[in-house]
Symmetry: C2
DNA sequence: ATATGTGCAAATTCTTTGCGTAGCT
DNA sequence: AGCTACGCAAAGAATTTGCACATAT
């Protein structure tokens, strides 16, 4: 499996540390720590791509054959509510995509293969949006979505 | 109807001029100029929001009661192929949204009411992505998606 | 023991497709 | 006339929901 992450001065996520935080966060907010949720969240952390629910389901199901797709969708809702993951939508493909990397980063979307890659460059780090700059809109976060052709597709 | 466009030093689109260009573009590329397409494209130009296909359908259907939703989807495909509109997806709402403003601009998405507003500030004008800065990815275009709370929802 | 979560299957919602007829060029 | 587009209805894909049983706290 190819890596779909373009990294610059940004290390990988420490999975064990994050799993501990996950368990703590669940306990604090009254969510049960189930094997399904553990496996799903761990898979999301490990997967540096941006899997669809279906892909996540397929991956985790290998070690947990009784897992159901509905559980995946429900776990996703829980994770979003806990602010552990973000949902992603790109114009090129209407399926939900998941991103467990909560650090600010941007997305490269290949218009040919529709793959979504991370861009951890801090190019936009200095873009700030003072509340009044956008007529009363209170900006919580932002992402830059870049469209183009990835290196793999270019060489085809 | 409230305007959902945050304008800065950017005028509105000249609808008549754009309609002329539309007809020309259709002729040049061998697409028929039908009343449906004319009405749909005109509605998209006039609508400064970011309607879903369903909303566009409802709007145009008032003057054209025989219009069908399938025609709307097919026209959308045609318009995209002609590079006259862009499709938009935001994490807050999985429906397709349409944007007939092809000038570079950005999007404010209210996490409460899910409305998408235009931001015509050139904040990111100086963000340049030299081809090699993103390891072989060839950047065609980009948009900044801002999440937050709009002024209307803030006052509730 | 009780509340919460899981798995299954059915239901929704959004979008696409096939096909016969109508309209544009 | 010939090709393209339209409208209808049916199909398909993605996501959500309801409910009975199982599991976590």
């Amino acid at each position: 499996m190819k890596s779909s992450s373009v990294e610059r001065q940004m290390g990988p996520i420490d999975v064990d540390f994050m799993m501990d935080r996950f368990v703590t966060a669940c306990r604090e907010r009254g969510f049960s720590v189930t094997p399904q949720r553990l496996a799903l969240y761990r898979a999301l952390l490990g997967n540096r791509g941006h899997p669809t629910p279906e892909m996540l389901f397929a991956e985790v199901r290998e070690q947990m054959p009784t897992l159901s797709l509905a559980t995946v969708y429900k776990a996703i809702d829980t994770f979003k509510e806990m602010d552990l993951i973000r949902e992603l939508r790109v114009p090129e493909d209407h399926r939900m995509r998941l991103d467990a990397d909560m650090r600010r980063h941007h997305h490269l979307v290949c218009v040919r293969c529709r793959e979504v890659m991370d861009l951890h460059l801090d190019l936009a780090g200095d873009l700030s949006f003072p509340p009044d700059s956008v007529s009363g809109f209170e900006v919580h976060s932002f992402t830059v979505q870049l469209s183009g052709v990835c290196s793999e597709c270019k060489s085809d």
